[in-house]
Amino acid sequence: MANTTTAILVVDDSSTMRRIVINTLARCGYTNVTEAGNGVEGLAKCAEKQFDCILTDWNMPEMDGLTFVINVRQKPNYATIPIMMVTTEGGKQDIVNALTKGVSAYIIKPFTPDIMKAKMEALMAKAAAAPAAPPAAAPAEAPGAPQA
């Protein structure tokens, strides 16, 4: 069953594709969705808010999807977050490459709503069973801070 509070980030340079993915996610019950137009924007959004799942395209200007995944995985609070690549790059080697770089799952365009639903359910079920990621580090107190 889809969780309407699951916070999802959709990263794609195509506004059409973002809308299609968001519409499809809504049909699957996921309505808490944020958009980003490329990997750079995606990283900025990840710094502003904690997402429970990320869907990203591969071929994007400024920062491609794979580079975005490598960068976001370096953040402790995103080390184990489910990340799904939504892309036309469906070759075996491409998929293997993406999985070794930190992508959790893969969906190849074109896809039907049923395929997206099945992929999301599998992805979120696997994430629910995995140990939680560490929270983002809080800023350290300055030494010698005055006592109350």
């Binding site: 195509s14 506004s15 059409t16 594709m17 809308r19 299609i20 519409n23 071929n59 200007p61 892309t87 036309t88 790059e89 469906g90 070759g91 075996k92 190849i108 365009k109 074109p110 896809f111 039907t112």
Partner: protein, 164 residues
């Protein structure tokens, strides 16, 4: 007038894969049945369209350009269907251009997996979109360009592939 021709092996495989991919993309993402016809040699001012999505295709064996050429009406119908809009909902031109580029991207990418299994691999560029009433894409110099009509209900669009 365009005419049919005998295709070499690689070109025939590419065209077959693009046709199959176009039909699949339309069925899954545009929720519309498309039937591709036989390939024709591109000649003179054919096909012409109002909006075209073009994507570069490069491999060690060839360089090519795949384009989807639409009339305004067919592009709008396809866009409304993709976005699950009503038949008379207004269309945002900028978003529609983006959708045409994305369709070209998906057709080229969708064919890739099929072709890799046949030993043909390639890299695709980011798509570009050409807009202009009754425009015709010129064949790049030194390229053979084939055109495949793709029927959608009462309308059609064209899959155009230039290869050198």
């Amino acid at each position: 007038m365009s005419s049919q021709t005998t295709l070499n092996g690689t070109t025939a495989k590419l065209l077959a894969a693009f046709c199959k991919s176009a039909e699949q993309v339309y069925e899954t993402m545009v929720f519309t049945k498309v039937t591709c016809g036989l390939p024709l040699i591109k000649k003179e001012h054919f096909p012409c369209g109002a909006i075209s999505g073009t994507i570069g295709i490069t491999s060690s064996l060839f360089a090519g350009r795949l384009s989807l050429v639409f009339s305004q009406e067919t592009a709008e119908k396809s866009f409304r269907s993709m976005m699950m809009m009503g038949d008379t909902d207004p269309v945002n031109e900028s978003e529609m251009k983006d959708a045409v580029g994305e369709l070209a991207n998906m057709v080229a990418g969708g064919a890739k997996a099929d072709l890799q299994a046949q030993g043909i691999d390639y890299v695709i560029s980011l798509p570009t979109v050409v807009v202009g009433k009754d425009h015709c894409l010129e064949s790049p110099k030194g390229c053979e360009t084939m055109v495949i009509p793709a029927k959608i209900g009462d309308g059609e669009f064209f899959v155009e592939f230039a290869i050198s």
